[in-house]
Each structure stands twice: as C-alpha cells, then as structure tokens.
C-alpha cells in the first residue's frame, strides 16, 4: 500500500483499512448528501462503490452539491460521481446505476453490498430502500436535511426504522420540510460527514453506532441531540 492511507492509521488500523478495501457500499441518491458521501468513502478507502441516481445536474444544484460544477451541468450524476471517485482513488471499483431506486430494481441494485447509504430526497423512496435493505439483511445509514436542520440514524435488519421517524409508510407522501426550506451546503456537508463516519463504524464493527437512535442537528441554533427510538 502506498502512503495514501498513512494519516488514517491512528484512527483506522492496517487490518481495518484492508477490511474497508474489501467492503462494498451502495450510495443511493447522488445529490447533495450522496456526492459528498461518495467522495469521502473513496478517500477513506472503501474499495467497492455502487453509485445510484437517475438524475442529471442542474444549475440549481450548484449551491450545495459537491460534484456539480458549472461545466458539469447537464451531466448524469452517476457518471460525474464515477469520474470523481476514480480521480480521487483509482483503486476503488465503481458500479454505476443510471436509474432511480424503485421497488422493481431496489433488491438487484443492493445485492452483494455490505451496507447502503440513504441519500435520497423523497420519504417514499426511503421506505422502498429500507424494505429492500432489510430483506437482504444489509444495514442502512440514513441522512436527511431541510434548511439548517439535519438528522441521521442507522437501521439494521431487525429494527423498526423509518416508521418511528416518519410514521407508517402509507401515511407519507413525497417530500418533507425541505420542500419549503430548501437545502444549503453547510447542512449537506455536515450531515454527509456523519453518514460516512457511521458507515465506517458499521463496516468495522465499532461501538457507538446510531442504532435505534436519531441524531438531530440544528445548525442555526447550534443544538445537537441524540434521541432514543424504541427498539422492537
């Protein structure tokens, strides 16, 4: 191994680094959160990434989406993410999926992954993802944002997951508070960092994961809290 991971080693041991290299992580949604997450996973050394989004960059993405540059407006998000990952860390294997996650393709997309990171932008789609992840027994690291607010949690196959956060699946439709509040770069980058940190912890079997707990962050008032979600 070259010097690439040298500065990781007081936090991530050599064995753990090798383990990350063998791990496969799916990033669903390559907008604000997903672009940052893909970048950080590649830098940290997660060896296999599945990058999923059916969307193209628009100029309204420039305010917060790391991978969106003026030059790339109009480009497919998974194409851009693959180029970026390869530019940062050529040893990472990328499988890109140029479609949105749907019930009919969710399990095929996730198959073979060790973990999935939820960077989606609709609540309905999050339930579809959770169902597929739990069926395949893959842990799910979820992040969601609106304005200066963000939340994150880790959902394992046995957990009640999103129904504790969003209510029953059939009560939910479409977007949440972000529809009126929009999204800004500082919240996106902050929550993406939490997601990547949780992802690495789960892959390495570390303690302190946000299982059955929800981290809430309000950057406007600088208030951060971890709240308990009941288990079974």
């Amino acid at each position: 191994m070259d010097q690439r991971y040298e500065r990781n080693f007081s936090t991530i041991s050599l064995d753990e680094q090798a383990r990350l290299g063998r791990s496969g992580v799916c990033v669903t949604g390559l907008g604000g959160l997903g672009g940052c997450v893909a970048e950080m996973l590649a830098r940290t050394g997660v060896g296999n990434l599945v990058l999923v989004d059916g969307d193209h960059f628009e100029s309204s993405n420039l305010n917060r989406q790391l991978l969106c540059t003026e030059e790339l407006v109009g480009m497919s998000k998974p194409d851009a993410a693959q180029d970026r990952v390869k530019a940062v860390n050529g040893s990472v294997n990328v499988r890109k999926v140029r479609s949105f996650l749907r019930e009919k393709n969710a399990r095929d997309i996730l198959f073979g992954c060790d973990l999935v990171v939820d960077c989606l932008d609709s609540i309905d789609d999050r339930f579809i993802l959770e169902e597929a992840a739990q069926a395949l027994e893959i842990p799910l690291v979820s992040g969601a944002i609106a304005g200066t607010f963000g939340q994150a949690t880790v959902i394992f196959p046995e957990d009640r997951g999103f129904e504790l956060i969003y209510g029953k699946k059939r009560e939910i439709r479409g977007q949440g508070a972000e529809k009126t509040l929009g999204n800004i770069a500082s919240t996106v980058f902050f929550m993406a960092s939490i997601q990547v940190s949780e992802t690495v912890k789960v892959l390495l079997n570390r303690n302190g994961v946000l299982k059955n707990r929800l981290l809430t962050a309000d950057l406007e008032s600088c208030s951060f809290e971890i709240v308990d979600l009941p288990g079974r």
Partner: protein, 78 residues
C-alpha cells in the same frame, strides 16, 4: 391552579408556531402533547416525531414538570 413548566422546542418548519412567551412554557397539570399542539394551532399531520427528554413519545403523553418537549416535522431532503 399551579401550572407546570416545560421546555418547548419546535424544530424546522414548526418553529413559526412557537409562542412569544415560551421560556418556560406553562401548561395546566394533565396537559398532553396533543393538547399543546392544538393550543398552538399546529396541524397534527405536520408533526411526525415527538420527543420528551430525549425519548420518543406518543401524542397522548401527559407532560410533567421540567419536561423537555421537542416536536419535529418530516424531513426528507438529500
């Protein structure tokens, strides 16, 4: 009647329903979370998460002195 004092926090889009006098927020003994929401005209379907002292609770929870009550709307942006 002696009122109960609670710490009320309304997050994200719910912040606009926070009354001017809220530190502390006072309610009558026996008041539930649901009753507070009604009193503040917060539409029931806007609230997806209720936290009391860092634990998820149901709308029927009866508030106690010094409770920290947090209400959250659904947040789904990515």
């Amino acid at each position: 009647m002696k009122m109960i004092e609670i710490d009320l926090k309304l997050f994200v889009t719910l912040a606009k329903y926070l009354p001017e006098e809220n530190e502390p927020f006072r309610v009558a003994p026996g008041t539930t979370v649901e009753m507070v929401m009604k009193q503040l005209n917060i539409p029931e379907n806007l609230v997806k998460l209720i936290f009391i002292n860092g634990r998820r609770e149901k709308p029927g929870y009866v508030l106690q002195q010094n409770d920290r009550l947090g209400l959250f709307p659904p947040v789904g942006g990515g």
